[in-house]
Amino acid sequence: MPRVIFSPFPLAHHFRQPRQQQEAAKLGMWLFLVTEILLFGGLFVAYAVYRHERLPLFAQASRLLDVRLGAFNTVVLLASSLSVALAHRCAQLGRRNGTVFNLAFTLACGGVFLAVKASEYKHKLHAGLLPGALFADTTVSSPDQAHVFFSLYFGMTGLHAVHVVLGMVVIAWLLARAMRGCFGPHYTVPLELGGLYWHLVDVIWIFLFPLLYLV
């Protein structure tokens, strides 16, 4: 019986066809992604509880954030999501250079995002807009409570930033492999799964942006 193997990745003996193997890999990735959704879900509910309790204060504290920087970062992440999807598409079509270019662009976008985030954190550090007892801003109406917003702000954006860093590590690894020409029309699974992770990080930011910057 002629056996055709489409992928340089061997077919594990417990799978019937490469397609089944691919789908199993994707299902595993999605199971991981939904645990990530639940992880952030807890933070979103915590946000909802505190916002419900002190909405005027949240509105006031939110105005201390720079909407332009938040919106800019949103567009940067959206662009990186597009490019990582295009990297996958290029690999599907066998365009190695396209894959490499798009992955490099994604990585650069991640860097820009983190740089903007770092400058925002730095500004807050100087202005005393910090969580808990470190909060030192006196312009809000009740400084003894405004720190709650910034605890949530740093908790949520900080955890998100950790995910961006991890995503960049994954993208860098994919980029190195793409440059070696590992991916082609018949082998795109790591690209697709790494891309899924990156997109999820983008989706979380899509919710964080209006909740934190546009109260």
Binding site: L27, G41, A71, L78, F207, F209
Partner: protein, 141 residues
């Protein structure tokens, strides 16, 4: 050529990717714009509606959910259902607790709230189980 194309799994068109990206950027603009309007309590729901639309676009096209096995939708849908139960019950508790527990609105921690209420209303029933009078010198937590 056609047989070779048939081997290729699901290549989406550049036009689709591009228009989804443009729609996402446009919706970001819309959400910044609508945040300037004063719609009271509706602002947050509008913002969440727009964010959900953006997330749905990313999930459906960039993450290929629209074209993939429907089983993945079940996994995601199940997760979101349980997240909705978690958030929904918590918010219901927050929204209506005050109508059940009249002492809710004072903003004090629960123990002190009950104590304060009883101080102001002599003759009310004794402390419920699990609640205690604040010790002397104890501050709100």
């Amino acid at each position: 050529m056609t047989s070779k194309a048939a081997l290729r799994p699901h290549v989406l068109s550049l036009r689709l990717y591009g228009s989804v990206f443009l729609a996402l950027v446009a919706l970001t603009g819309v959400t910044v714009l609508t945040a300037q309007w004063n719609l009271g309590a509706w602002n947050i729901w509008l913002a969440m509606l727009i964010a959900s639309a953006k997330a749905a676009l990313v999930l459906a096209v960039f993450m290929h959910l629209w074209f993939d096995s429907k089983f993945l939708l079940l996994v995601l849908g199940g997760t979101l259902t349980f997240l909705a139960v978690f958030a929904g019950l918590t918010l219901m508790d927050l929204s209506w607790r005050a109508t059940v527990d009249a002492q809710q609105a004072t903003g004090l921690p629960r123990d002190e709230r009950v104590y304060e209420y009883q101080r102001q209303h002599p003759g009310t029933p004794p402390l419920r189980p699990g609640l205690r009078e604040p010790r002397t010198g104890e501050t709100a937590h």
